[in-house]
């Protein structure tokens, strides 16, 4: 194996007589073609796991071209005896031509040579890909940009793999490139890589290793010895089994088959343009991230809104920037606002928000914001949705600002008295429904609303329906059912399965409300977090004390806002067990829901007096899947276990070797016998790179060891003493005569060991000590 990780000597082991040796140019070329083919196959097998990140299989044919054509070119270059250093260059050039032919044929010379237009086209494609990456959730549609990104990346990996495996003859190192390919699905797919794709990728890698080992050790044309193949199979099978089983038993590994451990939080710090994309991922993370603290003078729990989703058409939903509507100046956001807070007679509320690690172009604010002070950057606001957006794409991630807002204070009676919204009250975007609305959404709406008459009654009916006992809150069910994400088809699927999380509930209520003629939108942001118990300096507009809360990625939330004529946009809470239901939306007439007890959410109950010393040990809400504190504990434990396991793995060979030596020392002293001493000597020889051969007699081995290692006279004498007593014991018929041969003192062996150590380089010494080859020899027979 080590021969595969490091580049072997240019001249392979001499003495292989049968067949054209690996040294002969013909044989090497054939072998290199074999390795290159194995590399291409390995890359393709790994690339299969991209299925699920990109929808469908249409990405596969272009990928085939981008992997196979450059690799064919490198193989041809090797065949033509192009200098080794130029082979990867040829591969890269052909890769560029292939990509040009596939993606920018019209903007190139002769259809495949990259020209000046090609770069612009590539730039456009990359920009498109960037937008998709930022705004869409997997599986993404196979748009040209994404295909280009995928093909270019995997093509590069293919050339890299080929260079490492075939040109530099280090196939084990080529696994790095394959690993890079596997990272894409492991990070992006909610269910991670999956055992099947992992096994496919592993099979590809093993094939590459086998091809490399065959080239180095046997040369082409020879048959693989059966024992060799059997041993290789046994080792790789056990390694695979371990890789599949270990994540199941180790804590902290929640990713399933691919042992990537806790998933990397690529999106937690920067939530990106589309919070919908990452909301599910944020919620599923065992560790909280993106901590935000806010201090508010409000009596009610405060929902922090970042953006809204109005446009329910299209197969993917994404927040609309609505750049046309945006206005500058967020210090005062009331001038000319169409959705003026006419229904809002509530007290003004001051909220001071500071985001530690959260960063997003959208500014978090409680609804209904009247003005923002202290935020760095070039902010604009949308009077229709009251969302605040940073116009600078690279705004400061850490923000410390104050929002003045007014909370709505409605009573059920007030709302019940409101009429239906006029057709011109709001923009069409808040009322439009996709033309191809699935039938089961209509049915569900009809079932929910029954005979409710007023808009408020209808809204309450829909909320009650979604909070009913048949729906359950689950972060994993959409992932397992394959309907994680957003879009009208996802919504339809959710209403079938009746299990999902806030995005599904909120979208369902928004769409169902529109069917009943109530304008609606979906708000994204954070549910009220957890009371920190601190009371920062400062007061609200009316002198109320501020209470500090903190939220993080596990509080990410989505909720519907419905428009009522005369009251404006009103928040509802259809998601069971998350957030808090506003007073006006409480279901008086549904005792069946009593068991849900949303407002008993212990995280909200903390009055300042009951400062929670250990905040995380509050009892879990029934459906809460992952509790950050719990996960943090296991992660810590996992890290310690992992460190211990790594230390143990490093030290195990050393310890086993020492134990073996100690056992032999005892056996030699007990007998007294010379054989254990001799065995230890033979193992030392193996460790320091002077292995014996089965055809060696003790005498020939000792002579070779002394010659090769350049023993000094005292060491040679010690070696001779050991050899003589071993020969006597082994061949003079032990116990034949009365007297026994004198057993060499263990000191002689230590003399020899010191001599070996003296003559060895430092890497050789470390290798002999911590990865003694003699341990592996136990399993070898050749």
């Amino acid at each position: 194996m080590s021969a595969l990780l490091t580049r072997p000597e240019a001249v392979p082991v001499p003495g292989r007589q049968q067949g054209p040796g690996p040294g002969s140019p013909d044989g090497r070329e054939t072998a290199n073609i074999g390795v290159a083919a194995a590399g291409a196959l390995a890359v393709l097998l790994c690339a299969l796991s991209v299925h699920g990140v990109i929808e469908g299989w249409s990405w596969l044919p272009p990928l085939f071209f981008t992997v196979l054509v450059p690799l064919a070119a490198t193989a041809g270059a090797r065949r033509l005896r192009v200098p080794q250093s130029l082979v990867p260059v040829a591969g890269m050039a052909v890769l560029a031509c292939t990509l040009t032919w596939l993606f920018a044929s019209s903007a190139s010379i002769l259809g495949f040579l990259p020209g000046p237009g090609t770069l612009a086209r590539a730039d456009a494609l990359l920009a498109e890909a960037r937008t998709v990456v930022l705004t869409e959730v997997t599986p993404v549609q196979p748009l040209p940009g994404i295909l280009f990104l995928c093909c270019a990346g995997i093509g590069l990996v293919a050339v890299l793999t080929d260079t490492l495996a075939a040109t530099l003859r280090m196939p084990a190192t080529a696994g790095l490139g394959l690993f890079a390919v596997l990272m894409i699905p492991a990070v992006l797919k909610p269910e991670s890589l999956g055992a099947g794709y992992f096994l496919l990728a592993a099979a590809g890698y093993l094939l590459l290793l086998a091809a490399g080992a065959r080239r180095e050790q046997l040369g082409p044309g020879t048959r693989i010895p059966r024992t060799w193949a059997a041993r290789g199979t046994a080792v790789s099978a056990s390694a695979l089994a371990l890789a599949l089983l270990l994540p199941a038993v180790l804590p902290g590994f929640n990713g399933g088959a691919f042992p990537e451990g806790t998933k990397f939080n690529f999106f937690s710090g920067s939530t990106g343009l589309n919070p919908v994309v990452t909301l599910g991922n944020d919620l599923r993370q065992p560790q909280s991230a993106g901590r935000i603290t806010y201090a508010t003078s409000s009596e009610e729990p405060v929902y922090l809104r970042s953006t809204t989703l109005e446009d329910f058409s299209g197969s993917r939903w994404a927040p609309d920037l609505r750049a046309d509507e945006r206005r500058e100046g967020v210090a005062s956001m009331t001038r000319g606002a169409s959705a003026s807070p006419e229904g809002r007679q509530g007290a003004q509320v001051v909220t001071r928000i500071s985001s530690d690690t959260y960063s997003s172009p959208w500014l978090l604010a409680p609804y209904y914001p009247l003005g923002v002070a202290g935020a760095d950057g070039n902010w604009s606001w949308d009077p229709k949705t009251m969302t605040v957006l940073n116009e600078d794409s690279d705004g400061a991630s850490r923000q410390d600002y104050q929002v003045l807002s007014v909370a709505g204070e409605f009573t059920p009676e007030q709302l019940a008295a409101l009429p239906e919204a006029g057709s011109t009250s709001v923009d069409a975007v808040f009322t439009d429904l996709p033309a191809d609305l699935p039938e089961n959404i209509r049915d569900a709406t009809a079932e929910a609303v029954e005979d409710a008459a007023t808009p408020y009654a209808k809204a309450m009916a829909i909320q009650g329906y979604l909070r009913g006992p048949q729906f359950s809150y689950s972060l994993q069910a959409p992932v397992e059912g394959g309907y994680d994400g957003n879009g009208i088809s996802v919504l339809s699927e959710f209403l079938e399965r009746k299990a999902g999380y806030c995005v599904h509930f909120a979208a369902a209520m928004a769409v169902m409300a529109r069917q009943e003629g109530i304008p609606s939108r979906m708000a994204l942001g954070y549910a009220p977090g957890q009371d920190t118990g601190r009371t920062p300096d400062g007061t609200g507009p009316d002198g109320q004390p501020l209470r500090e809360f903190e939220v993080d990625s596990t509080d990410a939330h989505a909720w519907p806002e419905l428009y009522f004529e005369g009251a404006g946009w009103v928040r509802f809470e259809p998601t069971p067990s998350r957030g808090s239901v506003p007073d006006y939306a409480q279901q008086q007439q549904t005792p069946a829901n009593a068991n849900i007890r949303d407002d008993d959410d212990p995280r909200l109950s903390g009055a300042p007096a009951t400062a929670p010393a250990v905040p995380q040990e509050a009892p879990l809400a029934p459906e809460t899947v992952l509790e950050p504190g719990d996960a943090g504990g296991t992660a810590w434990l996992g890290a310690v276990l992992g460190a211990l396991a790594a230390a143990a793995a490093v030290l195990t060979p050393w310890a086993m070797r020492r134990r073996r030596a100690a056992r032999r020392r005892n056996a030699a002293a007990e007998g007294p016998r010379a054989a254990p001493v001799w065995d230890e000597l033979a193992d030392l020889g193996i460790d320091y790179g002077y292995p014996g051969r089965t055809a060696d007699t003790p005498r020939t081995y000792a002579r070779r060891l002394a010659d090769d290692a350049g023993f000094s006279p005292p060491a040679e004498e010690a070696l001779t003493r050991i050899r003589l007593s071993y020969e006597e014991e082994a061949y003079a018929g032990a116990g034949r005569r009365g007297g026994r041969a004198p057993v060499p003192p263990w000191g002689d062996l230590e003399t020899v060991q010191a001599e070996l150590r003296r003559g060895a380089s430092l890497p050789r010494q470390l290798h002999a000590r911590f990865l003694p080859p003699s341990l592996a020899m136990r399993f070898r027979h050749d």
């Binding site: 016998r673 193992d683 007699t697 020939t700 014991e729 082994a730 061949y731 018929g733």
Partner: protein, 354 residues
Amino acid sequence: MDAPIPPAAAASLNGFPSRKTATALKSSLAPVDAEAFQTAAEGILAAVNTVIDGKEDAARLVLTVLLAEGHVLLEDVPGVGKTMLAKTLARTIDCTVSRIQFTPDLLPSDVTGVSIYNQDSHRFEFRQGPVFANVVIADEINRASAKTQSALLECMEEHQVTVDGGTHRLSAPFIVVATQNPIEMEGTYPLPEAQRDRFMARLSLGYPDARSEVEMLENHQSGSPLESITPVVGIREASAMIARVRDIYVSDAVKEYTVSLGRATREHPDLRLGASPRSLLQLLRAAKAYAALEGRDFVLPDDVTGLADAVLAHRLLLQRKAAVAGTTASDVIASVIAAVPVPRSAGVPERLRR
């Protein structure tokens, strides 16, 4: 008549056909102790080395064969000291030596002896031929006809001479040192394979190195150095030394190893004919003698491998293809030695044997 096969050797060659071995030592002879053996052996070798310069290994090998009760075939170009070596060795032991110069007209009776009518006693009397000696030097054995060669070879094998229905025992110890000239082949009768098999070892002396050659020129200017040789041991001592060699211990591991070597030659693709069971027996016997010369009372695998070339090479028949390719029997033996694993004694168990 048949001396018992040494038990160790018999056990080592289990399954091999038991065959007659030719030893006629009186059992009353007590083996010499190790020290006396060593002194005597060193004395003999020292004496030989005063005559033959720079050929210690060859001298040791010939002495090994003598102690192992075998016969040796010296094959080399003329003038490198084949006959001189044989004569010197014979002279260091106080024993009878005879020399037969083989010529194409030599008759079997010239070797074995003839029955002559004694007119005084009116009876036929057997007149012993030159073969009745302890050391017989058969010079240029390939020059005699096949009939004469086989007469000698029968003596070598059976240690007896049968003439006119009467059987006459040869003296003991009995060693034939035959020489053969491989260059001048015209009018010669090369020994057939089956007869080469009767020689325990074949060796070629080769030219001495430059320093030894200078010394030789210096020392041998006046008269034959042979004159100055006085016997080191007597015939009884020599027999006692031979008896000691028969008592050298051979472990099971070494027996197994010897058999493995033999089997490997039989299965070797380059060989038409591998080592015979007799050759293995002789190899082991030679190894015992060699171990005794080294001052050990047990045989090491190294003794076997060290002698394998001398003992086995002249018995192996190469495939025509291999011979054309330039492979020699010595190459084959070297490759076999490099491939056959050395077994470990059953009494010393441990998984690693390297």
